[in-house]
Symmetry: C2
Subunit: 388 residues, 2 copies
């Protein structure tokens, strides 16, 4: 187990407080990151229906999943055997039996009849069919939207969580340096990707890397405007801009970082853009501290940007932490104008003022934790453009 039982108890306590605020008696989370956060469960099994159930008056959550994954739950969770419950393989991708019928049976055995059940309506890992089938089997239970309830509980990190994020950050820096060393004219994108992956998984002497929730993103050449395509076997060319965004992962915690490489000597107009973005990033890192709002951080960025002709309409940061494919973001709040959420101590963010324009693509970022009077970087690597 990668956290003490006390830490899991505290998470459960905070989750129950949030449930009480929304008048939820029973919470079923099917989101892999939330399942991990509450139970410790860490299996690559989220292509089948599974969940962690929190009952207000029970001292432990219940893990429900496929029989095949019960041993994995026993190894990775803090739960007693009786709270790890598997369903038969005839429920898997079946046209006749639905795993949510099994969930309902477990709840009925616990005496559930008309309690208020929270489900994550707005999160991907709960299908419409799962929602309907559970309702059918528990017709007297009111159903409540509990979307992102656990995600919000996750936002303030413990010292242990911060430690894992810093360890992930060390791996991030290793992998980024591998990219810096590998990228040069004539080398194939895919060969650089292969080396980056090796770095990310090998990790450090003390700590291997787990699979990150997002693949290493690496656009170059004409595809600089398309940040989410994967690598090809195209060889790098002179005057290529290469944008890189990647994260190491330790115990499912991330510390992503974006940097940019220029193959050759960039034109002055590009350097001007780079300098504005670096100034904007720096300004945000100076402004961030406990007590200010996302909106205020975003405005500090926009103020710097307004000195230039650069346009940027997408958000410039989001909270990070535990994650599974396809996202290392917590999907709660965003650093953008109008988001009045208040930053608190030990929230962790990926501050990412990235530009993906075709001719001026430049990405740079920092992963940070909020402190009382500022912020602390989770990784250590100069932010400047790397000219090669």
């Amino acid at each position: 187990m990668v956290f003490e039982k006390e830490e899991f108890s505290k998470r459960l306590h905070n989750t129950k407080l949030a449930m009480q605020k929304r008048e939820i008696d029973i919470l079923i989370t099917t989101n892999p990151a939330n399942m991990n956060y509450l139970s410790g469960y860490d299996g690559y099994s989220f292509y089948v229906i599974q969940g962690v159930v929190v009952l207000l008056d029970e001292p432990e959550p219940i893990w429900i999943g496929r029989n095949m994954d019960v041993p994995g739950a026993a190894f990775s969770t803090w739960l007693r055997t009786e709270n790890i419950i598997g369903y038969g393989d005839d429920y898997v991708q079946s046209n006749t039996k639905h795993p949510m019928h099994f969930f309902a049976d477990v709840l009925k055995e616990k005496g559930v009849t008309n309690q208020r059940i929270g489900l994550e309506w707005g999160q991907d890992s709960l299908s419409v069919t799962s929602f309907m089938e559970l309702q059918k089997k528990l017709p007297d239970c009111p159903f409540i939207d509990a979307s992102f309830l656990v995600n919000h509980v996750r936002m303030i990190k413990s010292e242990t969580e911060i430690t894992y994020m810093k360890q992930a950050g060390e791996i991030t820096v290793h992998a980024m340096n591998t990219a810096f060393d590998s990228i040069q004219e004539g080398v194939k994108e895919s060969d650089v990707a292969a080396r980056m992956y090796q770095s990310l998984i090998k990790g450090t002497e003390a700590q291997p890397g787990d699979y990150p929730a997002i693949i290493p993103l690496m656009s170059s050449g004409e595809k600089i405007s398309a940040p989410h395509l994967s690598w090809t076997n195209r060889p790098y060319k002179k005057a290529d801009i290469v944008t890189l965004e990647l994260s190491g992962c330790v115990n499912r915690y991330h510390a992503p970082l974006a940097r940019t490489v220029y193959l050759g000597t960039p034109p002055q107009t590009y350097i001007d853009t780079v300098n504005i973005v670096l100034e904007g990033l720096d300004e945000m890192l100076h402004v961030i501290k406990a007590g200010i709002t996302c909106d205020e951080v975003a405005r500090s960025w926009n103020k710097v940007l307004s000195k230039s002709t650069i346009m940027k309409d997408s958000r410039v940061g989001y909270p990070i932490g535990v994650g599974y494919p396809p996202d290392w973001g917590e999907q709660t709040i965003s650093i953008r104008p109008g988001d009045t959420s208040i930053l608190q101590k030990n929230m962790t963010f990926h501050i990412l003022p990235a530009l993906f324009q075709a001719d001026t693509g430049f990405v740079v970022s920092e992963s940070i934790r909020v402190t009382d009077d500022g912020c602390e970087r989770l990784t250590h690597l100069p932010p400047n453009l790397l000219e090669k």
Copy 2:
């Protein structure tokens, strides 16, 4: 583009036929694999809401996604610019604006008022909230369950798809051989994982590897019963069983393979188990051909197994093809007793009679395509236990 326009047109035609059978006028697929299949779209952006819309009377689907991903859609799809439509970043993870409102606006502009809309109720990438918000904005449209409609269309592969799967299979074999070469007493699991990843992404001289939909699965030691946990920094020990399941990926197509390594000389009881499983796999590969049912294949496996005391309650195969995290399976039919689906020429399966018992863990598999009179392996590697 990795497929000819004609191939996309054929896929669209087959999808429309399936829509007509279920009386669906408009299909919205939000599943990344289905989006790829119909449009070619290939971005790691499925942590935001996006979709491909098929209208019965339009000659092309419409891609709708985040503005930031419009250039990626332009690069990777066969669609004309007018059919690639982006929404503003203020729709991303917002509490006030929902991307499905934007989808509704696009449909209304196309004249949609009361047409029958198919959504994938039973698939993960459509949230309950997405379903509700779309219904709200199109109150006169009947909504129909179109779960796995496109998944079923995907099942019979073209020659080009088979070619990509064989290329993926070559990468699979490279990575498996890398594992065979790397695994030995004292070497860390995570170092082997790092080398396997490098193999998977580097690919072959002709073809780099894309990120597979499932991580390399590699259980060993006491965790042999937990097939879906990821690697640790535990060094391999004498008498370890090491189970491996992995796939190369080319243009999002997979050809997974499972093999087992034994560090030392296995006891005769273990060899007996291995031999029964190999015989059962061989028997299934002899039975498989166009025209027989999943049930018949499963029975041929059970018949061999009945000569032993081995118990196996999970399915022994599933269809494969295009895939994104978290699954390379098509989630349509299964090789298990009672599934009367009929195998057809150029369906492709991962035949996986895996045992995950604590003391007798043994996995072996083949990826195959169904032919008129048998089946063809998509990878070439002896199935036997590797003793090291």
